[in-house]
Symmetry: C2
Subunit: 336 residues, 2 copies
Amino acid sequence: MTTNQNDYAGFYRGKNVLITGGLGCLGSHVAIDLVHLGANVTVIDSCHPLFGANYNNLESVRDDVNVNVCDIRDADAMNHLVQGKDVLFHIGMQTSHVDSMTEPFWDIDVNCRGNMVVYEAVRHNNLDCHVVYAGTRGQYGVLDTIPVDETHRMQPTDIYGVNKVAAEGYGLVYHRAYGMKFTSLRVNNCYGPRHQMRHAKYGILNWFIRLAMDGGSIKLYGDGGQKRDYNYVDDATDAFLRAGSRPDACDGEAFNLGSGVPRTLREATEMVIEYAGSGSYELVPWPEERKVIETGDYVADFTKFTKATGWKPLTTMEEGLAKTVEFYKEHRSLYW
Amino acid sequence: MTTNQNDYAGFYRGKNVLITGGLGCLGSHVAIDLVHLGANVTVIDSCHPLFGANYNNLESVRDDVNVNVCDIRDADAMNHLVQGKDVLFHIGMQTSHVDSMTEPFWDIDVNCRGNMVVYEAVRHNNLDCHVVYAGTRGQYGVLDTIPVDETHRMQPTDIYGVNKVAAEGYGLVYHRAYGMKFTSLRVNNCYGPRHQMRHAKYGILNWFIRLAMDGGSIKLYGDGGQKRDYNYVDDATDAFLRAGSRPDACDGEAFNLGSGVPRTLREATEMVIEYAGSGSYELVPWPEERKVIETGDYVADFTKFTKATGWKPLTTMEEGLAKTVEFYKEHRSLYW
């Protein structure tokens, strides 16, 4: 953790916190920080083979975290598990853009119905619980203007993006209708240690890091010129912890995260290769299934969240890539 | 039909057209006009007891329409029925705001999963079919500015609104990804003959017409000052027929409908009472379940659709209310 936790160091001590997707990358980072901050942490994970659950992610806090394997669509489990919790970091979902296109009914079932199971559980069992939801920049889809702020309309290019808009929308409706404490953080491209490295379906930068570390060739579609806004996972974690500690400033709101330093995919790839110390890249034509869901440049305006909570990304891409490569060099066998 | 059909009189002759929700108000109007225009019309309706299906709606064209009772969630049926169709007017859905709040999983199942069944049917069986989808002004929810144009962000206040955004989003994604011909018309408050008159769950103005015709008292919440934008059903029907005939101008787009003459609910109610020749109204406090999903004033900017197709609403509220009252006086026993 590189960021300053003083702003919420006291808040989480003794708090009961639930994290969905807690064996994944962002979820486990949030869990580990919360243990260090003195919270009582329960982690939910579906352990779906694609979704990136890895028990090694929580190795350092294994004795201090309650791990509960279940699907968010399991209403009985969710109704039970939300009870007595002060904050729910709701991070566990289906997150593959391509899978949402090939399996749209599955995506609807997890990301629409499943999210409703979570909100209904909170609504009926524990309205004191603050839900901090992991939204995505994919909700915006095709942009009219960049940088994009939270008032921009949403034109998602894939079913995943549509259903993430819906899932955030349900939360905002439940906030308004039932007083459910709800905050959405629209996460941009997040990368760093503990991310799954076994397939390319999500976490493009982490996948490129693996390819480079393996000495492979990274294929960039088109000219690789599309801009993206990358956040190192520590900065995203800090954003979630800030939001969770500040319902006074965040409740009922959606916020962009962002880096302030957008880069083209080609620039980012060149940096990955530099920090990995191996690998290469080549430009290839767009595959059809990717081209149709490509959104073009994405640059976030995250001033709303900075004003609300003081959050700023503090890890440069150079630092983030160096730390990520170092982590996977040390723990390669657990993630490859 | 008061509007000028010359713009599409030739287009529909001999065309094969499918209409979901075709036994309901808007669906039956579209069906009847299409029969008169020489189209081969198949109507789908779930005949769900709440949804407003009424065989009397198609009485005048009973021998010229194929009525197929099935749910849009019936994938086998939909896969079969879309084949060979030139246009699909997709109007049949769950449309109660309040029911979407009390039965959110049902709303997700019909309006998210059910719509996906329809689009998947078209995608896999008949990509030549132009889908004209009935969206809603409820997608916008809370407005930043009025009049609202199509670039306004969407902040729905109920689960119905969220899921209508999703259902439109799926269509636009399928247009982009698979070339499905898709047009969304965001319908505002529609009223007129053939609407169900048995409950208040949808079609507020029609419900007020019934109350007034029965000599009852219409309860307006608050001061009744919220502005709404009403369209007589003939004008909405004309909009759908125009859109269906102009994929060149409408494909891949979403359009607002609107009246150009917004009125407060109180003004509209006073007109209803005047044209019904009976009834009264009283102001009552907002019931909680309605207050939480109330969106405030709604006024549509529909210039985009006028530019694309030449559509303009032609029926004044005075004419529309007079015709509606006349219709229900004649056919009261079939709708009460």
